[in-house]
């Protein structure tokens, strides 16, 4: 059953890679402006769930509905267009194009959707300022620190004003101080723009930036909202 008012919701997701079952009946839902942590040990199916929710992977069974549309009913091209215009992505490693400057990297999603260079870079610069990395806009990723690269990646995920941001271990490669600042800035920007954030993490300190958590274990996702009062 899909909860009323949810922006993105999945029910009964199943996905196997050969004989290995990654998802075994996972349910999920998120509302606009909400930050939901997807927690669970390595290999539990967290990233597979994220990829199915984002329309990157097609589940073997179950449905994913985004803003009233069934993702599995869309063509590959339609899903790609949706990802470019309505979703933002932040991953743990290697997201920036090494040959481009930070400004060009941040502007890339807008360029791909046909925005003129000048306008795209003006918007990108605003987000780089927001993420406190405007001073490195003319640098290439190899010339700046890991923390700065991740902030540029977060800025890039926000330039299209996405309605859902998918963040898969976004601070996994950063030290505590840098990681926390990136999380603060990401969640603050998301709340300001009413974007929903699916935050995949195995770290409790990262999950503490969310509004609620969903725990994935053995391919099943369990919303923990119901157990809060039980403790």
């Amino acid at each position: 059953m899909i909860p009323a008012g949810s922006l993105l919701a999945a029910s009964g997701l199943r996905k196997a890679y050969g004989l290995t079952t990654a998802l075994d009946g996972a349910d999920f839902s998120i509302h606009p402006g909400e930050v939901v942590a997807v927690m669970g040990p390595s290999g539990s199916g967290k990233s597979t769930l994220l990829h199915c929710l984002a329309g990157i992977l097609r589940p073997d069974a179950g449905t994913v509905r985004y803003d009233g549309r069934d993702l599995s009913a869309l063509s590959d091209a339609e899903r790609s267009a949706l990802r470019r215009s309505e979703f933002g992505f932040v991953f743990q490693f290697g997201q920036l194009v090494p040959e481009l400057t930070c400004l060009e990297n941040a502007a890339l999603p807008l360029r791909l959707t046909g925005t003129k260079r000048k306008d795209a870079e003006a918007t990108a610069l605003r987000w780089l300022e927001h993420l406190e990395v405007a001073d490195v806009r003319h640098h290439r990723p190899g010339q700046i620190s890991g923390g700065q690269q991740q902030r540029v990646a977060v800025a890039r995920s926000l330039v299209t004003t996405p309605r859902v941001i998918f963040a898969d271990e976004p601070t996994g490669a950063l030290d505590s101080l840098n990681g926390e600042r990136v999380l603060e800035l990401l969640t603050k920007a998301a709340r300001e723009t009413r974007a929903a954030v699916v935050l995949v993490t195995h770290e409790a300190r990262v999950a503490a930036y969310s509004d609620r958590e969903v725990v994935v274990r053995d391919g099943r996702a369990r919303d923990m909202a119901g157990v809060h009062g039980a403790a």
Binding site: A204, R205, A207, M224, H228, A230, A231
Partner: protein, 174 residues
Amino acid sequence: MSIAHTLLGLLEAGPRHGYDLKRAFDERFGHDRPLHYGQVYSTMSRLLKNGLVEVDGVEAGGGPERKRYAITDAGVTDVEQWLGRPEKPEPYLQSTLYTKVVLALLTGRPADAILDAQRAEHLRLMRDLTRRKSSGDLADQLICDHALFHLEADLRWLELTAARLDRLSKEVQA
């Protein structure tokens, strides 16, 4: 935390009245648990008796609360020794939670539900602390970080126990 040493340390900056001491303590260290006046005065009279503080002045018409205290050389040495002495690491044994998990397994109740409920409760507190941290000053951040790291350690134990429940169940029922 040693309240006596903390009050002594606060006196190193200069003499203060008991009320000022309480206020300085609460402001810096008493976020959740402000000191009672009684605690301050009983601690100060003990420090006075032990020669670690002295009365620097008494305001006219004053009872004991009007005394101004100053740290003595012996007091400064005592603070110095306390600061230099490492605290005894106290491994927080998860005795209550461990007992609950084992009892649940012994009685055929769902032990994973206990761990889930505890995880949710820990995360609820971690969210509060994270919010407080982002709106607070540096002192708030440091205090909240300390609590957050400890709660995170508990949660790692919870996750590890959750992953070992099958094995624990077999051992408990053997």
